[in-house]
């Protein structure tokens, strides 16, 4: 177990080093420096600068320092917990990122709180009797909703619930403080997109369990159907969905970009997009670290959880 964890953490550090290195290489090109200058000073100002003045500007911003020096400085700072400074937002990256992560955390919490029970119940109901009307309708609904892109759901929900019925605010910028109602549309959009996939997976797993020998035996023994499902089938059927649900954490981190940008919800996804467009390198770097961390962590959790839930698997 310890060996397994150490291996995974080592793996994570390697991924982080590789990803940040690649990003640094990309952002260190003259084109990206020029883009930063254009963002800071404007296209008209940059073209009015002489080459010598442009060099002085790069020097003032610390951009003419050799690449390896900047990269090693950055690593040194990150190890000490200093994520650098955002050129675009004029703020320390650490607290900035923390603020946005908290907001995305709230969003993620509600998405999971709704999505997990909904998709598990639907998936189990469908998988119980493969091929039944119940199964077909759940499958149809799942596939239908999963195939609508988030952006389309977002627009439809805005038109119906916000602009049409006026039940909730159209945008979730929450300019006058935190507002639960403004959370409704982004959460719904994500749940609608995601529940179908998890429900389908749960259905497949449940259907497989229902065909296994021991369930047939239990039914033939005359156990009440309800008890067969609750006591015998569920435990085994939920192993696979558990893994998938934990991995949804990773999906959510990238899935929120569209939803947060559309609804103007100031979380991690919107920050990442803005930083990438700017280009605000230290923010992009910090966001990448977080994304890698979440990806690896969710894999570790799902692997460990799977091993605990499924006695047939052992750490190797």
């Amino acid at each position: 177990m310890t060996k397994f964890l150490l291996k995974r953490i080592l793996q994570m550090i390697l991924i982080m080093l590789t990803a940040s290195f690649i990003l640094f290489v990309i952002f260190d090109t003259p084109e990206f420096k020029k883009r930063l200058a254009v963002q800071e000073l404007g296209g008209f100002a940059v073209s009015a600068l002489t080459d010598a003045s442009y060099e002085s500007w790069l020097e003032k911003k610390g951009l003419n320092v050799p690449f390896y020096e900047r990269y090693s400085n950055w690593i040194g700072a990150v190890v000490k917990g200093d994520f650098g400074f955002s050129q675009e937002k004029n703020r320390e990256v650490g607290p900035l990122l923390w603020d946005k992560l908290k907001k995305t955390g709230i969003l993620a919490f509600w998405v999971f709180a709704l999505m997990i029970p909904l998709s598990l119940v639907l998936g189990v109901l469908a998988g119980m009797k493969e091929g039944s009307l119940q199964d077909r309708s759940v499958s149809f609904i799942s596939v239908f909703f999963t195939s609508i892109p988030e952006i389309a759901t977002a627009i439809l929900l805005t038109v119906f619930l916000a602009l049409g019925l006026g039940l909730v605010p159209a945008k979730s910028a929450m300019i006058s403080g935190f507002d639960w109602k403004a959370l409704v549309l982004p959460v719904l959009t994500l749940v609608i997109y995601d529940f179908g996939y998890v429900a389908r997976m749960t259905r497949a797993s449940m259907a497989e369990v229902m065909t296994s020998q021991y369930i047939r035996t239990a039914i033939l023994k005359g156990l009440p159907y309800r008890r067969v499902i609750m006591k015998h089938a569920l435990r085994n059927a939920l192993i696979a969905p558990f893994t998938i649900i934990v991995l949804q954490l990773n999906w959510l981190l990238s899935g929120v970009v569209v939803v947060e940008v559309f609804f103007e919800y100031d979380g991690f996804g919107k920050l990442l997009l803005e930083a990438a467009l700017f280009p605000d390198i230290e923010v992009v770097q910090a966001c990448t670290l977080v994304a890698v961390l979440v990806a690896v962590l969710s894999q570790i959790i799902s692997d460990i959880g799977y091993t605990f839930l499924n006695p047939r698997i052992r750490f190797s």
Binding site: V38, G43, S53, K89, N90, A170, E264
Partner: protein
């Protein structure tokens, strides 16, 4: 204000107006340009000063409304960017965040007339090479210091720092104080002279007409000599409001400065809040009642705007998109190719496709009908056969394939224009590929690509943008156009104060530009914004400036 000396040209202009040779509005412009206060100029012209003309008497603000109620918060939807160094601002939006804290020497009103703000007047020498500005008395900084000529000199010197990267270096007036020193541009010694505590003199290397207009440009706000970037860390200004909170990409909160002896009279609003919904979402936020007004909305949202409650504001401007070609790059080095391209386009048909309401049709020279000295040369009629013949002559009998770079830098309307043009030039055998770049990417190559669509903002005078963008060798000359005859004709027009005479001289300038076919300018666009019924005194400015001193909420 130097009321004791009228520039000789003012008397001349007044005479012309009296003789009926100059219209009253044109007179207003000449008179205010030469240092007559807008109030006096309106009086001399016999025109009634409009109530909301953003100026009254010698003040840049509208007169106090007797019904006005003090208090309240004005909420505005606008992109919120960092407030680093006001001299390097690259968008009007940024200057709006500081406009109620940091003020300008002059300000161009919504009526396109420039009025004194932190100065109370100016005087130009007859050759337009020496300009004297008197600083308004009693302007206080938030820390109690009084604004002096030294402070103003500090700012002008700063703009000319070759390493600062301010776009002000490109302004005609500032460029006329610069010389090449080694590989950089630096100020000519003695260009900015402090005559006394409240008088400053600019000594230019060549005549410039638009000095007051230049000082209203958005990166020219006046900062305190103790200034250190970023401004948001130490927001010291002369304005009636102070910055209390800034979160880039979210909000910018301004509050009426307590215990501040403000020079500009009464202001009504307690607070001004800017919120960032990103451009395409602002109107939805407005319709949901989250903000009272927004900085602007695009023409693609006009029908939506009409369907919601609120008053739509419009501004006629000289903002445009230039489909410009570099005259030293193949195939655009062949004037026949450039001419054929223009000939294949029906400008009058493009405008209504993009802007069904408002706006002006362009005629392929960069002067707009709203400019006082605009000489009306109609755009030649579309001639597809002529275009084909020209192309054949140039060796493209089987048609030609061109690629234009566009960045939609101020909205998707750029793409609509270029797509309309693409469909038209097809008839003449020109295949136009549209290469859409992200806005920031476009600004990297805007002056480098052989063929691109660049947006140019509104400038109050027609000669200003010609000087900035089309003179031989100027930094913003994106077409690489170099024509001695054009330069000389423009020099002559710029040295002519009288608008009627200048307009006559503009005929030659505009004609040369149109004939050279270096740019295709299908239209000049209008601006739209919207405001709800509780807000009084907001109007749309042709460069989106906000000035909320006399705005109040019912």
């Amino acid at each position: 204000m130097s009321n004791n000396r009228l520039h000789p040209k003012v008397k001349e202009a007044q005479k012309m107006m009296d003789d009926g040779r100059m219209d009253r509005r044109a007179f207003l412009r000449v008179a205010t340009l030469l240092g007559v206060s807008a109030g006096s100029a309106y009086a001399m012209s016999g025109l009634v000063q409009p109530a909301d003309a953003a100026g009254h008497g010698n003040m840049p603000f509208a007169a106090d409304d007797p019904n006005a109620k003090a208090g309240g918060i004005l909420k505005v939807g606008m992109d919120i960017q960092k407030m680093d160094d006001p001299a390097t601002y690259s968008w009007s939006e940024m200057s709006n965040q500081t406009r109620h804290t940091l003020e300008f020497l002059t300000i161009t009103g919504t009526d396109n007339i420039t009025r004194p703000m932190l100065v109370d007047g100016w005087e130009a020498s007859d050759d337009l090479k020496t300009w004297t500005f008197t600083i308004r008395k009693g302007v206080k900084w938030h820390n109690g210091d009084e604004l002096t000529a030294e402070h103003v000199k500090f700012n002008i010197d700063r703009w000319m720092d070759p390493d600062l990267g301010s776009s002000n270096i490109g302004l005609s007036s500032i460029a006329a104080m610069l010389e090449d020193v080694g590989e950089k541009k630096a100020m000519v010694e003695g260009s900015v002279e402090v005559l006394d505590s409240h008088t400053i003199q600019l000594n230019l290397q060549k005549p410039v007409l638009s000095v007051p207009e230049d000082f209203s440009n958005y990166p020219t706000s006046i900062v305190h000599p103790s200034f250190k970037a970023p401004f948001s860390d130490n927001p010291l200004g002369t304005g009636a409001y102070e910055l209390v909170e800034l979160v880039v990409g979210e909000k910018c909160i301004l509050k009426k400065k307590a215990d501040h002896d403000y020079w500009g009279g009464q202001v009504y609003l307690d607070e001004i809040h800017y919120y960032d919904f990103s451009a395409e979402n602002s109107l939805i936020a407005f319709s949901g009642g989250e903000v009272d007004t927004i900085i602007e909305f695009g023409v693609e949202q006009l029908e939506f705007a009409k369907a919601i409650e609120g008053t739509i504001l419009t501004a006629r401007t000289s903002q445009t998109l230039t489909l410009r070609m570099q005259v030293d790059q193949a195939p655009f080095d062949d004037i026949r190719v450039r001419r054929a391209f223009s000939m294949a386009i029906d400008n009058a048909a493009v405008k209504p496709l993009v802007y069904p309401e408002g706006g002006d049709i362009g005629a392929n020279y960069h002067v707009a009908p709203i400019h006082p000295e605009h000489f009306d040369i109609p755009v030649p009629a579309r001639d597809v056969e002529g275009a084909k013949a020209l192309l054949a002559e140039a060796g493209y009998a089987d048609g030609i394939e061109l690629t234009i770079d566009i960045g939609n830098t101020d909205g998707p309307w750029h793409q609509t224009v270029v797509e309309a043009v693409r469909d038209q030039v097809k008839d003449a055998g020109i295949t136009l590929n549209i290469n859409v770049l992200p806005a920031s990417k476009y600004w990297e190559i805007w002056d480098k690509t052989p063929f691109g669509a660049t947006s140019w903002t509104h400038r109050p005078l027609g000669t200003m943008v010609l000087s900035l963008g089309y003179r031989t060798g100027v930094p913003w000359n994106e077409t690489h156009f170099s024509n001695a005859e054009f330069d000389a004709a423009l020099d002559e027009a710029e040295a002519t104060l009288d608008v009627e005479e200048r307009r006559a001289k503009m005929e030659k300038v505009q004609k040369i530009m149109q004939d050279a076919a270096i740019v295709c300018i299908p239209l000049f666009r209008p601006l739209y914004s919207i405001v709800n019924g509780s807000v009084n005194g907001v109007s749309m400015h042709p460069t989106k400036f906000h000035l909320f001193n006399k705005v109040w909420k019912a």
